[in-house]
Amino acid sequence: MQMVEKILKLFDSELKVINVGLELFKNDLESQKVSVVQVSWQPYPKLEKEYEDILSKIL
């Protein structure tokens, strides 16, 4: 038996959305009267990502 209570709660709730990435989706949800907050995301520099990948394997 899987747990689906949280999913059913999502179906029945008013949506409250965190949008990470394309602002188009934020604007579209707002025009449907959904509350949205935007996380502005930028890729970190490539070298930094490589270090991070190595670190995430070590830690």
Partner: protein, 531 residues
């Protein structure tokens, strides 16, 4: 050229459009220097030596203008726009935790960042108790598995990666249409499949409770249908859902078995499967509650028949005789050289449905995303015989906005296809809804007229077919979009399957008989059709 400079494809599309309006500028493009984009710049004569050396992490500003000073002015204006943060009304945060402090009751996150970076972001969202709609493509399969296992352990949904659309709690997420609330629950590993079925259900007078996009990778063996099974279980328990439809390209065999066993042994509601192209004859389990359909059209019709009064399904259906009548003029006007169908699709599942239908009438056809790998187009930029293009595939979209938003590539391709004297018919999908272009039919009309003129000047008539996937409640309004297409002579069909069938009837005008069309109807469009 700006090295190591990232802006997302939608910001750049907007900047490119604005740049074209600058005084003295004849053409302009602001793009990440992916191979797709540099190839396009080259076709538009916008690629210079400096651009050739750029890598996909670099940004190219290309301006064609009447004078050096106009070029400098144009580039200056574009650089100034790039330096400004995009206009946003309301709240904007730089970290998920800061956003959550502002909205602690958040219950869903939408993630649309380059796929390489999705793991860390989605993990932290799941750890904070949020369901996730993961729009990003190019997420490695092992990361998808890890994220879905984590979500399942927490009782949360990860819709995606590559989930183009969902309808949750009555709201359209990403590329979704405005659909009436109702009793039909949809689980789909096929984005435009979800859109088409939900739109046809809406056309038939019914509505949707929830529509959950799982991402195409969910039905692969390695992922095992984790999200699909969670979604079916949730819809089974959801009191607002009376009937469940599962839409996907054919799942891997083990996943098909898992899904079918689950719905037969663990659900009680009517279930309709649309594993595109498959008729269910290979199913090792069966049940009277379970209907297997081969097309999106047939799935929608089955839902309407099971749920609504007699006759309502006529809204989306069209008899073989009606179809013959519609294509009759086109068939008579063609000349002897015009043999082949060309499909210019923005919706991948709709392209796939067309391939399934054409396979019945003409055998396998070429595509950049074919049913049989031996029919893969040698080059996506050149059609061969009958060809169906999915313009949303990677080779057309890396570093570019999806063709549902940016029509540039389809417009250019339509003109190229019109020049080919062997083409007998061109068909295309017009996708409406949130996320899509604000006027997807209108923006194609000039190119449609140009294509017809090119054919006419060459002594040919070129029939162009369209299916508008959307509703009158969508921001673009379906009836307006249909009107614009009809005004330039496009034949518009109520379903993608009927459009693809019509394209076969036009191109194979001498070989398809009424009897074979009737057989096709009973197998692919309407299982209760009686000849």
């Amino acid at each position: 050229m700006k090295t190591n400079y990232y802006r997302d494809s939608l910001q750049l599309l907007h900047l490119s459009e604005e740049a074209k309006k600058i005084e003295g500028v004849r053409d302009a493009a602001v793009v990440m220097a992916t191979s797709t984009n540099t190839e396009l710049l080259s076709k538009l004569n916008l690629l210079t030596g400096e651009g050739l050396s750029a890598s996909s992490n670099d940004l190219i500003i290309a301006v064609m203008a009447d004078s050096e000073s106009a070029i400098d002015y144009g580039i200056g204006r574009i650089e100034a726009s790039l330096a400004q943060p995009p206009l946003t009304l309301g709240s904007r945060f730089h970290t998920i935790d800061a956003a959550l402090r502002s909205m602690p009751e958040a219950n869903l996150a939408i993630v649309s960042i380059p796929g390489d970076y999705a793991k860390k972001v989605v993990t932290s969202l799941l750890d904070r108790g949020l369901n996730v709609h993961l729009f990003s493509d190019h997420v490695p399969q092992e990361v998808e598995l890890e994220l879905k296992q984590l979500a399942k352990a927490k009782g949360l949904l990860v819709m995606g990666p590559g989930a183009g659309t969902s309808i949750i709690a009555g709201k359209a997420i990403a590329f979704a249409n405005v659909i009436r609330k109702g009793k039909v629950g949809i689980v789909a590993a096929a984005g435009t499949g979800l859109q088409e079925v939900s739109v046809l259900v809406n056309d038939g007078g019914l509505g949707v409770s929830q529509a959950i996009g799982t991402g195409g990778g969910d039905v692969k063996e390695k992922i095992g249908g984790i999200t699909t099974l969670q979604a079916i279980e949730a819809l089974e328990k959801d009191t607002a859902t009376d009937i469940i439809v599962i839409v996907t390209k054919p799942p891997d065999a083990s996943v098909r078995e898992r899904i079918l066993n689950y719905v037969i042994h663990s659900t009680s509601k009517p279930i309709i499967t649309c594993f595109l192209g498959e008729d269910g004859s290979g199913n090792t389990v069966s049940n009277a509650r379970l209907s297997s359909t081969r097309t999106l059209h047939a799935a929608a019709l089955e839902i309407l028949k099971r749920s609504s009064p007699e006759g309502i399904q006529d809204v989306i259906s069209m008899s073989p005789s009606e179809l013959f009548e519609i294509v009759d003029t086109a068939r008579k006007e063609l000349n002897g050289t015009q043999e082949y169908v060309r499909g210019l699709y923005t919706g991948g599942t709709l392209a796939y449905e067309a391939l399934v239908i054409l396979r019945y009438f003409v055998g396998n056809v070429y595509s950049n995303a074919p049913l049989d790998s031996s029919f893969k187009l040698p080059s996506s930029s050149q059609s061969v015989k009958d060809s169906i293009l999915d313009l949303g595939e990677e080779e057309f979209t890396v570093g570019r906005a999806h063709p549902m938003i940016d029509p540039t590539i389809r417009k250019m391709r339509l003109i190229e296809e019109a020049r080919d004297p062997e083409v007998s018919v061109i068909m295309m999908d017009i996708m409406l809804g949130y996320g899509s272009h604000p006027d997807p039919a209108g923006v194609m009309c000039n190119s449609i007229s140009d294509a017809q003129r090119i054919a006419r000047n060459d002594g040919r008539v070129l029939p162009i077919l369209a299916h508008v996937c959307g509703t009158d409640q969508d921001p673009q309004r379906k009836s307006d979009q249909i009107g614009k297409l009809q005004k330039v002579g496009v034949r518009v069909f109520p379903t993608n399957a009927l459009m693809a069938t019509a394209s076969a009837l036009i191109s194979r005008r001498d070989t398809i008989t009424r009897a074979s069309l009737n057989t096709f109807y009973s197998q692919f469009l309407d299982t209760s059709y009686r000849m």
